[in-house]
């Protein structure tokens, strides 16, 4: 339960309050919820909070003027769409107060966030939605400078364009290498969608080229569907090297675009390193990330298990069985908003039920999907048994086309819900 002061959102005014008649002062003091991060999770949560309780003051802290979405960014790499189609402004946030700053510190005791210009904002409840940070400590040779040569493109924007331009510049007959990290990481099917769409580009523009995936895992999301599709659409073009065959990258050398594995080394003409990840830096600073680098949460309220009063949603959170996806981020954001609104009214939050659906494009007109339904169980978000699963392996061409169309329309719908 929040403290009474936190509920009333008057922590900052409490000293002054003693000297003045309370009702007038408190008439203006609506509880303030501060949301850090304006991605799929944070922007959704800020909007949902306002929809659920218009008497709340909601402040969204996000330093970027526009958000560049990762879902569908693999189509940008393959030259199928422009980055503009991925870019969303924050004008549609309605009554949400937007502060274009970066949060740099959190004082959980006092309920206060510090921004990069030195100002502080008090909160009754804080929602952290910073997404991921690339863990440059985890892969020797890979740092921000190396990423300018071997792009991760795992945060969409300049990195996406860099990798696209590198792909456009290689010769026919070149070798493209992608590396994929161990679990957990943002968007489990993402590396394989990326491989598929780059293969589509190579097949249509540079057919003598080759693509190798060096993987730190022996299994991956929608694996049977991807592999069947690769055999059908890109025979001989994609080679997947799993962990057990020496796929784990132990070091990279950006100067020579070389991936070192336990079994040898591979030199690429175009190299995309998807490195290990962890929750965004502010989660570590706020003390809500554990030794895994991710944030343990209560599955009903998304409140941190480490710091009361702070909720964590989206990729930064430990979502149990829920994958780190934009769909999950949006679903969690709405459930978290309902819980925060209830807690501030001293009501019991309801048990949420969440859905995730992730589409992947294997080719522009060939989509596959995975879906799941989740609910709190034993302190985690667990899959509802008997529900969910992937597209059938033997689906007709029309079904693949339909899923590709749904993928695109899902993106249009969700981005309109999140960004207005």
């Amino acid at each position: 339960m929040p403290s009474r002061r936190a509920v009333l959102g008057v922590a900052a005014a409490s000293v002054a309050a003693a000297a003045f008649p309370l009702p007038q002062l408190r008439a203006q003091a609506r509880p303030r919820v501060v949301v850090i991060g304006g991605g799929f999770a944070g922007a959704s949560c800020a909007r949902a909070l306002k929809q659920m309780d218009r008497d709340l003051a909601v402040t969204l802290v996000e330093p970027e003027a526009a958000y560049v979405a990762c879902p569908f960014s693999n189509t940008v790499l393959a030259g199928l769409r422009g980055i503009e189609a991925q870019t969303f402004g924050y004008d549609g946030l309605g009554d949400v107060g937007l502060i274009r700053k970066r949060a740099v510190a959190v004082d959980a005791e006092r309920g206060r966030v510090r921004l990069n210009d030195g100002t502080n904002i008090d909160y009754a409840r804080l929602v952290l939605a910073p997404g991921i940070e690339l863990n440059f400590d985890a892969l020797p040779g890979y740092d921000a400078a190396a990423a300018e040569i071997m792009p991760h493109a795992w945060k969409a924007g300049p990195q996406t364009l860099l990798l696209r331009d590198q792909l456009a510049a290689i010769q026919d007959g070149g070798t493209v290498i992608l590396s994929a990290p161990a679990n957990p990481f943002r968007c489990p099917p993402g590396p394989y969608e990326r491989a598929s769409l780059i293969a589509h580009y190579l097949k249509t523009s540079k057919p003598r080229s080759k693509l190798i995936i060096l993987d730190a895992k022996d299994a991956f999301s929608k694996q049977r569907l991807f592999e069947a599709a690769w055999q059908e659409l890109y025979p001989g073009l994609i080679e997947w090297v799993p962990l057990s065959a020496g796929g784990q990258v132990t070091e990279v050398d950006a100067a020579t675009r070389t991936f070192v594995t336990e079994f040898g080394s591979h030199k690429a003409d175009v190299a995309s390193v998807i490195p290990p990840q962890r929750a965004g830096a502010i989660a570590q600073v706020a003390g809500v990330a554990d030794q895994t680098g991710w944030c343990p949460i209560d599955p009903v309220t998304f409140e941190s298990q480490l710091r009361p009063g702070i909720h964590v949603i989206g990729d930064a959170a430990i979502g149990g069985a829920m994958p780190k996806s934009a769909f999950s981020a949006n679903a969690q954001a709405k459930a978290c908003a309902a819980a925060v609104a209830a807690l501030l009214r001293e009501r019991e939050p309801t048990q949420p039920k969440l859905i995730n659906t992730c589409y992947s494009l294997v080719a522009p007109d060939y989509g596959i999907s995975i879906a799941g339904v989740y609910q709190p169980r034993d302190g985690l978000l667990a899959e509802v048994e008997g529900a969910g699963g992937t597209s059938p392996l033997d689906a007709a061409k029309e079904v693949r086309e339909l899923e590709a169309a749904y993928a695109e329309d899902w993106f249009r719908t969700i981005t309109s819900e999140v960004f207005g």
Partner: protein
């Protein structure tokens, strides 16, 4: 109902039923969404968006329940809805359908 009233309630003898009644009067329909309901709008947008994924605007609750049942049993062909419908009981489905069918439900990001 404002936070001022809430505060007064607290300063005097605060009782939960009063608070709950006040909340019910002030909160938009979105706040009362049953478990699972708010996840639907990630795919099913307002009719104006005109996407291949059908909008749920202006559907009667009974229709939504029937469709969900048809998805669950496989009677109606689906890509993902069959897999999702299996995750909800009859009771949950009915509650979601009733919520979705409310005309005033502020489901589409209208603050």
């Amino acid at each position: 109902m404002s936070w001022c009233d809430l505060t007064k309630g607290r300063r005097g003898r605060f009782s939960a039923p009063v608070l709950l009644a006040a909340v019910a009067a002030s909160a938009p329909a979105f706040a009362g969404a049953p478990p699972g309901a708010t996840a639907c709008t990630g795919c099913h947008g307002p009719a104006a968006l005109d996407t291949a994924i059908p909008s749920l605007d202006a559907h009667a609750a009974a229709d939504i329940v029937d469709q969900m049942q048809a998805f669950r049993t496989g009677q109606r062909d689906a890509t993902v809805m069959g897999r999702i419908a299996k995750g909800f009981s009859d009771e949950e489905t009915r509650a979601i359908a009733e919520w979705l069918a409310q005309p005033e439900a502020a489901r589409h990001a209208e603050p």
